[in-house]
Symmetry: C2
Subunit: 212 residues, 2 copies
């Protein structure tokens, strides 16, 4: 009975075709300037059909976010090297996140934009999946814990909190670059230099120490 399987496959394919179409338009014109009719046209389907695969526009946006999160998750996990110290692994992961931000900017924005615009909304289960189980953040926590055990990372803050702090801090600077790139241009600040300098702050702190 291969028919059911084929149908499931076809359904999944169609679903992905719709996401592809939405992605092309969203990435090109911005989330506010694309209508469901536009997407239907781009996907060569009728609007009603979109709603057979996604329960709302937001749900479609969420599907794009999930794609981005999967890419990021893969990038972050594939640089992990058990032979290295926790701190070294964290730095590698940081590099991977930087690469994601630079090379998959549209996905970065999809994640950031979705998070920000939905935060007023009522709870929906999916909202939490983003940060659960096999998420980048959870993996990040694990590696930090290893670093605390091997002594390469400061131990006075619980790994969970440290992960959230570092994650939010890095995302915060990326967000600034994404939102205020023009301002950085005006100030003649190079994005990459800014990111490198952030890493310095993360590693060595703010205070002026005699050492170093």
């Amino acid at each position: 009975m291969g028919v059911l399987e084929r149908k499931a496959r076809e359904k999944e394919r169609r679903r992905n075709e719709i996401i592809d179409a939405a992605e092309r338009l969203f990435f090109k014109h911005g989330y506010d300037h694309v209508t469901m009719d536009d997407i239907a046209k781009e996907a060569e389907l009728s609007k009603g059909t979109l709603y057979l695969y996604f329960k709302s526009r937001e749900d479609l946006h969420y599907a794009i976010l999930i794609r981005g999160l999967e890419i990021l998750n893969r990038l972050i996990r594939e640089v992990y090297d058990a032979k290295k110290s926790g701190l070294e692994n964290i730095l590698q992961m940081g590099e991977a996140y930087i690469r994601f931000f630079r090379e998959k900017t549209d996905y970065f924005k999809a994640i950031m934009f979705f998070d920000a615009t939905r935060f007023e909304r009522v709870e929906n289960e999916s909202k939490f999946k983003i940060l659960q189980e096999d998420s980048p953040l959870v993996f990040f926590m694990e590696v930090l814990r290893q670093g605390q055990q091997d002594g390469s990372i400061k131990q006075d803050i619980p790994a969970e909190q440290l992960a959230i702090i570092l994650w939010s801090q890095v995302s915060g600077v990326f967000e600034f670059i994404a939102l205020r790139g023009k301002l950085l241009d005006m100030l003649q600040i190079d994005n990459i230099e800014l990111i490198r300098n952030q890493i310095k702050v993360l590693l060595y702190g703010l205070e002026n120490k005699q050492t170093d």
Copy 2:
């Protein structure tokens, strides 16, 4: 000829009454769940009148953001103490920002939400005013510069960049708390503890040092 002045005053008052009404509704029900008709009703005016004072819904939202920014600016400047070192002043300013986040959360969200949702939009002059002239960020840069001169703050990163990094980092953690408060509850992480721990990271960095 006090008539013109009185009229200007009245115009300004009416404008503020509209912002008051919008604020009450936005803060209570969230930005997505309030219509211009709702605001007109709350302000005891007709919808058309709103458009005599604000050119769009977005413009009205922006007016709330400006209020928030003015409050923050005041809080940050009033803790400045010329007798103290740059680093001490920066820490004071950090405390002020924390207070703003905790006590004026609605304004914090107004700023954050506006920034995030408008970043796709085309340029409008106002977008830059947020971070110019007498803005909190510019003041922050000045104090950092003082700190670098008196030797209390590390000097290997230009003050402009340091300001942007620290600002974005702190905002990043606040944003996480605002967006993912529920997740922090689940992980049994206290918001205040998280913020205190962030300050530790900012001051002393991530690496495990023998000193301290």
